[in-house]
Amino acid sequence: MNSKRTDRLATRVIYLLVAIIILVLIGILGNILIAGVPHLSWHFLTSASSSFEAGGGIRDQLFNSLYLLVLTLLISLPIALGAAIYLAEYAQDTWVTRLIRTTIEILSSLPSIVVGLFGYLLFVVQFGLGFSIIAGALALTFFNLPILTSNIEQAINGVPQAQREAGWALGLSNWKTIRGVVLPSALPGIITGIILSAGRVFGEAAALIYTAGQSGSIVDYSNWNMFSSTSFLNVMRPAETLAVHIWKVNTEGIIPDVNLVSAATSALLVIVVIIFNFGARLLGNWLYRNLTAAKVK
């Protein structure tokens, strides 16, 4: 009887704790979405932000966020992939690899404002890149690398050892086994890891304030020459992202509809991150089905 009562009590406590988490989540998400979604409109998404008047949009910030994300992934993915393959497949358990792992853990818990200030000193000042998309992308790479590396390493470690042995036993070299057997099996997990880390990068503000800058330059979306200073693809221009925009309008904004703008921008940010998360799951499942099942030729 006693153990039965303890069990019931423990179950209730656990349910209660879960309920708290769900309530907090629903509270935050609901609050952001209810406050922001009504103000989201096609006009808001497609017009430039305004400095003084009401009715500005977030077209440039949305594009900048996505562009920075793409650049960051372009830089960080090859590095993280290589590092993860090394850690998962080649590294012996020595003090060197333990040191590497610890470093990655420390880096991943580094406050993003520290990454931002470091990026400011190194890229903006020392390398003379100025407040620019490329400086922001490099700072975000520092911010993203540890998480991405450990996500990919986990995905690779998730491939059963039996798969590697199957490759070796067929006379495949270690690299052939990794490339042809291990990586395709790990691909769904790798994609999920990339997209989940992308969600974090997308919402990052502190690392960008001092690197990508806070001013929106005049951008011409029909100018595809990325070396032209007005081109939307120019990586040397300063660029404000959604998260930085929220921070800015709330600290120094003088537009009359600041509350609406920041609420709607927050809602948009949250929605995009939610889409990333669901997208990661769907894409991962779809890839897994496709890689393991029949290929129609």
Binding site: P160, A162, Q163, E165, A166, L170, V181, T292, A293
Partner: protein, 266 residues
């Protein structure tokens, strides 16, 4: 557990030229100091099936995995493994080439998460075989040899993971023999299979005997007696007795061997 010193070793020996492969004083160490295998010297005759039996931890799998150098990454292997008058337990041996000549099938079926056909062609393509007609022919040949062709010939492009466990295991055999090895190492190939699949697998192995030399670890006494020609009994890292399967099962020399076969331990 029984102490090995209580039993003299009874090891049948062959002339070296009768053997497809033989080992001389093979010892395996894990982590540099922990010895798992002690001076095992066994010969394996061409076109026979040899069963390696013994309790869990007796070293039979360790022995088997040393033969195609699969222990390289985790253990130190001392001694000689003679194959085609060449000691293959040397650093300068190209293990990738070696493993094409000494194929292996594992305990749990481990097909690649690819189509049935790609499971067989992947290693062939990696070895440089690009001719489509040749590849298709090899797929058909090896699937027929593994007695799987009739069951899968209409769905070669389907996922190998959709096959039953027994079919997957025969696919793994087909994948191994597509490389035209001389020796097949089998590490408890039927332990994850139901009795019907096991029977089919055993039939397949018996048919393959005419072409390949097979060395098979098994926990199943009946299986060893049903399909093997020779049986080696391992105990605590030592090969204690090695003889024809008939002799081992009807007239074992050693006391421990007899006890193990009767099921008193293990």
């Amino acid at each position: 557990m029984e102490n090995w010193q209580n039993q003299t070793k009874y090891i049948k020996t062959f002339n070296n030229d009768e053997c497809e492969l033989y080992t001389h004083n093979l010892s395996v160490f894990y982590g540099g100091t922990v010895q798992k295998l002690f001076d095992v010297s066994l010969g394996f005759k061409k076109n026979t099936i040899t069963a390696l039996i013994g309790a869990s931890g007796s070293g039979k799998s360790t022995f088997l995995r040393s033969l195609n150098r699969l222990n390289d990454r985790v253990a130190r292997v001392d001694g000689n493994i003679m194959f085609h008058e060449l000691d293959i337990n040397q650093k300068r041996i190209n293990v990738y080439e070696l493993r094409k000549a000494i194929g292996m099938v594992f305990q749990k079926p481990n097909p690649f998460p690819k189509s049935i056909k790609e499971n067989i062609t992947y290693a062939l393509k990696a070895n440089g075989e690009q001719d489509k007609a040749k590849l298709n022919q090899l797929v058909e040949e090896s699937l027929k040899a593994a007695a799987l062709w009739d069951e899968v010939k209409d769905k070669l492009d389907n996922s190998a993971l959709a096959l039953s466990g027994g079919q997957q295991q025969r696919l793994c055999i087909a994948r191994a023999i597509a490389l035209k090895p001389e020796i097949l190492l089998l590490d408890e190939p039927a332990s994850a299979l139901d009795p019907v699949s096991t029977a089919k697998l055993e039939d397949t192995l018996k048919q393959l005997r005419s072409k390949y030399t097979m060395i098979m670890v098994t926990h199943n006494m009946q299986q060893a007696s049903r399909i093997s020609d020779y049986t080696a009994f391992f105990h605590l890292g030592r090969a204690l007795e090695y003889d024809t399967t008939t002799n081992i099962f009807t007239n074992p020399q050693g006391e421990i061997t007899e006890k193990y076969i009767q099921g008193s331990f293990g």
